[in-house]
Structure formats: C-alpha cells, structure tokens
Amino acid sequence: MADGAAAGAVRAYGLLVWTWVRAAAQYPVSMVLLALATAVVTGLDVAAILLLFAHAPRIAGFAAPEVLFLYGTSALAFGISDIALGTTERLGHHVRQGTLDAMLVRPVSPLVQIATEDFSPRRFGKLVPAVLVLAYALAEAGVAWTPGRVAMVPVMVLSGTAIFGGLWVLTGAVQFVLVDSHGASKSVTYGGAFLTQYPMTVFARDFVRGVTFVVPLAFVNWQPALYVLDRPDPLGLPAAARFASPAVAALVCALGAVAWRAGLRHYRSTGS
C-alpha cells in the first residue's frame, strides 16, 4: 500500500514536471537563454573563489582545487535538491493567498504539486558550473584515490542532496505555523549552500559546532570531504563522523516528512 502511494507520487511528480517543461518549451530561445543565465549566476560563486585565490595560494589551510572540490559537491547537491524541491519555499505564499486550499482538493499530494510548480528547465543551468568545477577539482585536488574515496564522492553528493531536500521541506513546513518565516528560512537553504562551498576552517569554531550539531550542514560535504582529502577534523570528531552523512540525511528527511505531515494536518485554511 505504502509502495503504491510512493510510486503514485513519483508518477504524478514526473507528469506535472513534464507539463511545466512543455509549457516552458513553447519559447525555446527564452528557455535556453534563461538556462544559460542561471548557469552564469550560479557560476558567480566560482568567480568569487577564484578571485580570492588570485590573492593567496592557500586560504584557511586549503588550496584552490580543494575548495573547488567543496564548491562542486555543494553546488551539485544543492542544485539537484533545488530543482526537485526548491519551490516548497513558496508554501507561506500559498497559505496567505488561499491557493493551498485548491491544492488540497486535487487528487495529488500537495507536496508534489508545490514542488513541481513552475518547474522550468532553466533550473538545470544551476548544475552546469557545479559539474564542470567538480570534474576539474577531482582531477586537480591531488587526492590519493582509493576505492573507498572514489565511492565516497557519489555517496556525499547523494547524501548532500537528501540533506538539502529535507531542509527545503522542513523549512517549508515551518511556514504552516510561521507564515512570514520564508525570509529567515533562506539563511538555512541558500545560506547552507553558500556555507558548504568553503572549508569549515574559515569559520569560527562555535559556528562550525552549530552547523554540525544543530543544522547538520557540515555533513553535506565537509565531513565526507575530510575523508576524501585526508584532512584532520578541526573539531576533533571521531572518524566515524566522516561516514555519517547518509544516516544524517535519512534523519533530516524523516524530520522534514514528519514536520510536513504535522503542518498539513493542523492547517486550517485562512478562515474567511
């Protein structure tokens, strides 16, 4: 039964995505230009990293290819999660406008409806700089490759995607209660995407503790990267932490799912 529901949701997701893509494809030139523009905007963060390293060979103990490795894994994970679930941040808007009520009467999960809303192929532009930079960094970071390290790269991208995905849904669900919280939840989602582009050695130690134990952004790519790049942990966590990303991802996703369901169950429309 649960399997059937999940398969149905995935099918509905695919169908709705395809509908929106076909709508966007009615203006092919616009679609391609927008995808390119999205790629350039996303790539500005790479430009910032390169500009920083134009002035110093190492920053906070890390060389350019290593930071680009962090950028690539972070941007790829965030990009995929943003494509799949990023529009859940509009929940508060739907609550305020009353359009959530219309979604509730349709025979498709409201989460699927919100996540696919306005789905545009332009968003795939976000992945372009991420993939290019990651490919470059994997070649240049001077990693002593072992089977474990090779396997860790896809594992960290998938775990990171799941962590960000869970955070999208979790911060979206908060808007059931705090309709105006969207502005602040951006510091977790977009803020998390920015944070994980840099080595945690850049940040103050208490700050790193916060993004390890409270909002577990350090598990998006930092902890697994310590394993891949063979670096000591500045917080001195046990080595097992480097392999904890999948477990953390499962936990965040579970929290997101519980929060979303709870929010939906307690939702009482706007009233009038």
């Binding site: 927008l34 905007v41 920083l52 110093a56 602040a184 803020g191 944070l195 850049v202 940040f203």
Partner: protein
C-alpha cells in the same frame, strides 16, 4: 508640493506594512554577513592590507553590503514590469505625473522603508561581534547623501530593464543579465578593491559601483574632503545619465504602446 511626495509616502507605507517579513529577511542578511565576513577575514589574515583595506574595513564592508541589499534592491525587479505586461501601464501613462518621476518617487519610498527595517540588524550584529569601522560624523552625513544617490542609480538601471518589457514581452532574460552585472560589479560578492588590474578599473567605473562600493567607501572613511565630493559626483553623474536615458526610452515607449479601446 504636487503629487510625488505622496507617491513617496505611500511607497514607504507599503514597504513598511509587514515589519515581521522584513525582519526575517534582515535575519538572513545577517547570517550571510557573518559567513562572508569569515571568508574575508580568512583572506585578510593572509593579505593584511589587500586593496588598501584592513581586516576591520573588509568586515565592515561586508556588513554594509548586507545592509544595502534591500534598499538598493540588488537582486533587481520593479512592480512596473508586471504593469507593462498586463497593460496597466496605460493607466500610469495617464497620470498627472511623468512615468519615470512617479516610479522614482515610489522606489525612493520603498528604499527608505527597507533601510529603516532591514539595514539595522546586520550592521548592529557586525559591530558587536567583529572588529568594526565606525564612521566619522562627516562621513556618516555624506553616507546618507550617497545612499540617496545609490538608490537613484539602482532605480535608473532597473527602470531601463523594466522598460525593456515594451519591446521584449519577456523580461526575464534581461533581468538575468542585469542580475549578474549588479551582483558582481556592485561589490556585493567581493569588494571591488580585490578585483585585479583592468577588471578592477572597469568595475569601479561602471554604474553598479555607485550602488554599493562607493557608498561603502564613504562610510569607511576611505574618502575624505574632496574625495567625498568626487564620490558623490561620480554617483550623481551616473544617476543623471541613467535618468536621462530613462526619459528618452519612456518617450519611445509612449510611441510604441498601443492602447486598445473596448
């Protein structure tokens, strides 16, 4: 007095109507300020006087950029765009005030509201936690003037982009280009003083520099005496050029627009 002060006032009122929403935005600005400040500090610990800034200058600069995101609307956009798309602009063109003047007054009102609600938290948090450059009274006064000019320049560029709607019918491509330019060349992502060589020279001469880099330099006391006059003149020149271009484009748009009766 005329109608424009009222337009300003209603713009101000509209953008201060949801203080909680603005406060949550400024919370995110503050978080980004912290992260960017740490990144800059890491660079400045290797290069302590890069671009003539010391570490306190760099950190202060970073929190100024976060405080100004709202007021100069660095991510672009204007309500006028949607009104051109759906044809309501025909009503705007019938008003007893010019289109550009009307929207400039509205935008200055928006910026004032945004400055009031969104600029405080990042600056305060930055000043409490990090080494911070507190401006001299003369610089603070000049900074106020620089802010008005920065918003005017920002309006000038966004107004030109918005008018593009008259010809393109889909402004998103133009918006995206404008976004790249304003994020990168305003000093939002990194202070323009770290841009090397020719790139830096070009960046400092473009109108986007007048939106964040120049007011920040005035705030930091990197400009004093005649330097302040020069900074304000640079902003004023871009403001005049952009508003002039806006006036010409408005006239062309007026000829382009066909209002169907019905």
């Amino acid at each position: 007095m005329g109608v424009l002060p009222w337009v300003w006032w209603y713009g101000f009122r509209r953008h201060t109507a949801y203080p909680l929403g603005s406060l949550t935005e400024s919370l995110t600005n503050t978080v980004f300020g912290f992260m960017r400040a740490y990144v800059l500090l890491a660079l400045w610990s290797v290069r302590p006087s890069l671009g003539g800034y010391d570490a306190a200058d760099a950190v202060t600069f970073c929190f100024i950029t976060q405080a100004l995101i709202g007021p100069v609307q660095i991510f672009g956009g204007m309500d006028l765009t949607e009104r051109i798309r759906n044809g309501d602009v025909a009503i705007d063109l019938h008003r007893p005030a010019g289109l550009q003047g009307w929207w400039l007054a509205d935008d200055l009102g928006r910026a004032a509201g945004s400055l009031l609600l969104r600029a405080g938290p990042p600056l305060l948090a930055g000043a409490l936690v990090f080494p911070f450059r507190v401006p001299a009274p003369a610089n603070l006064a000049a900074f106020a003037a620089a802010m008005v000019l920065a918003v005017t320049v920002s309006f000038g560029t966004r107004y030109l982009v918005a008018l593009g709607m008259f010809w393109l019918h889909d402004d998103r491509g133009l918006q995206a280009v404008a976004l790249v330019m304003s994020l990168f060349f305003s000093g939002m992502i990194l202070p323009l003083v770290v841009f090397p060589g020719l790139l830096g020279d070009v960046a400092r001469a473009l109108p986007w520099a007048a939106q964040i880099q120049v007011p920040a330099d005035v705030f930091l006391g990197r400009r004093t005496g005649a330097g302040i006059i020069g900074a304000l003149a640079f902003q004023a020149a871009w403001a005049a050029a952009l508003l002039g271009a806006g006036a010409l484009l408005t006239r062309a748009a007026r000829r382009k627009l066909v209002v169907h009766g019905g």
